[in-house]
């Protein structure tokens, strides 16, 4: 769900504060040239997860601890899946656990230098 991800990123970046109103489904539809029903689905997905909450007749607002929820979700789902892939690939290449951890550390250092 690209729309949901995009709003999450906006919240992470601090473009939307807690209790602030996010874009309506129609604004999103117009911004991305997508059907408003698709945009609504993205918003509802975030509402179901508690990242957004509905105010009747007013629209969708950012929850108080939206940021943490997003961080937690991404850790537990997105990052975990990526790590799984990495571990599987390492197994296919018959790398040892230490070797893999070394590699991760090395990449982390490189990123730090940049």
């Amino acid at each position: 769900m690209q729309i949901a991800e995009w709003i999450e990123t906006e919240i992470m970046k601090g473009h939307f504060e807690s209790d602030q109103k996010v874009y309506s489904q129609y604004q999103l539809a117009e911004m991305y040239t997508i059907n408003p029903a698709t945009a609504a689905k993205g918003l509802n997905l975030l509402a179901d997860e508690g990242i957004l909450f509905k105010k009747r007749g007013l629209g969708m607002f950012v929850s108080v601890n939206a940021k943490e929820m997003i961080i937690n979700k991404r850790k537990n789902q997105t990052l975990k899946r990526l790590v799984q892939e990495v571990v599987l690939e390492a197994a296919r290449l018959q790398m040892s656990e230490d070797e893999l951890i070394e590699m991760i550390k090395a990449v982390q250092n490189e990123e730090g230098e940049q």
Binding site: Y26, A29, E30, Y32, T33, I34, N35, P36, A37, T38, K41, Q84, E85, L88, R92
Partner: protein
């Protein structure tokens, strides 16, 4: 409210059924994509909805009326394609004015703005327009008419990529401002899928599926991996599509009714699970033989 309702709709031509026992309904103010292969019956269906053609059997109701010979249906719907016929004696701008006299919701301001944006000459004649320009002009008429039921049959024929993109955006923007029921038929599902709320896929004059676009995107999954593993894992499921890559790798598309743990198991077994794009899926679902064009070249 249902804008279109048809039941067992059949259209027979000599020796062939163009539509065969088609039943579906379309809700008000939704954008529905009508997709299907060449000759699947898309245009026939749309022309019956528009009241041009007569159904052979079954029932069809548009705004709760039989569309054939209905003045109401004609007044509240517009059928746009590249074969729209205009009097050769009238100039383009006069054609817009004429449309304005017929359609109660006509927006001349929008028509003029689009007309100027696509740099049409007010004094030009319709039959001298190029293919792409014809489609562009017809699209302007279709949008500015603001009919409660707007039918676009292959509206982008001959348009270049820029105009197509402009058209999709214009369509969406005007739809957001003035919601209405829109049916869009196209061979380029990948281009229009973001605009659609629902999709109606027909094949050989029959309904293949009719569901929200979002559901279709998750309706099937692709699995790729060692042939034996793929076959074992997709056990008892119909392969919507399969493609043998190299000696021992198989890409297969199956209906997605797996739960999270079994997908997990698949990845652990070394299978790569991917989502299947709506346009690919529609091609797979309606291809004549499951092997596709490659079958033509095999065993030679």
């Amino acid at each position: 409210m249902k804008v279109i309702e048809c039941k067992d709709l059949t259209k027979a031509y000599i020796g062939k059924n163009a539509l065969n026992q088609l039943s579906f309904s379309i809700e008000e103010n939704k954008i529905t994509g009508l997709v299907g292969r060449n000759g699947a019956g898309k245009t026939t269906l749309l022309k019956i909805i528009g009241g041009f053609l007569k159904e052979t059997s079954g029932t069809i109701q548009v705004f709760s009326e039989r569309p054939f010979n209905s003045l109401n249906v004609s007044a509240h719907s517009i059928f746009v394609d590249d074969k729209m016929s205009f009097p050769p004696a009238l100039q383009l701008y006069e054609l817009l004015e004429a449309a304005g006299s017929f359609y109660p919701n006509w927006d001349m301001d929008l028509a003029e703005r689009l007309f100027d944006y696509f740099s049409f000459d007010r004094k030009a004649y319709h039959q001298r327009l190029s293919k792409g320009k014809t489609s562009t002009f017809n699209m302007i008429v279709g949008l500015a008419a603001r009919c409660p039921l707007t039918i676009f049959d292959e509206p982008t024929t001959g348009m270049d990529a820029v105009v197509r993109k402009d058209f999709y955006r214009a369509l969406l923007k005007d739809y957001l401002a003035f919601p209405r029921t829109i049916i869009l038929s196209s061979h380029h599902l990948d281009e229009i899928e973001d605009l659609l709320e629902d999709i109606l896929l027909i094949n050989d004059g029959k309904k293949h599926l009719h569901m929200p676009m979002e559901e279709l995107k998750e309706w099937a999954i692709g699995i790729k991996g060692a042939t034996a593993t793929v076959l074992e894992w997709s056990d008892k499921k119909e392969l919507i599509y399969k493609n043998q890559i190299g000696a021992d790798t198989l890409y297969a598309v199956v209906k997605n009714d797996f739960d999270e743990p079994s997908l997990m198991k698949a990845s652990l077994a070394g299978l790569k699970i991917t989502s299947v794009s709506a346009s690919d899926l529609c091609v797979y679902l309606t291809s004549e033989s499951k092997g596709g064009i490659d079958n033509v070249f095999s065993d030679r």
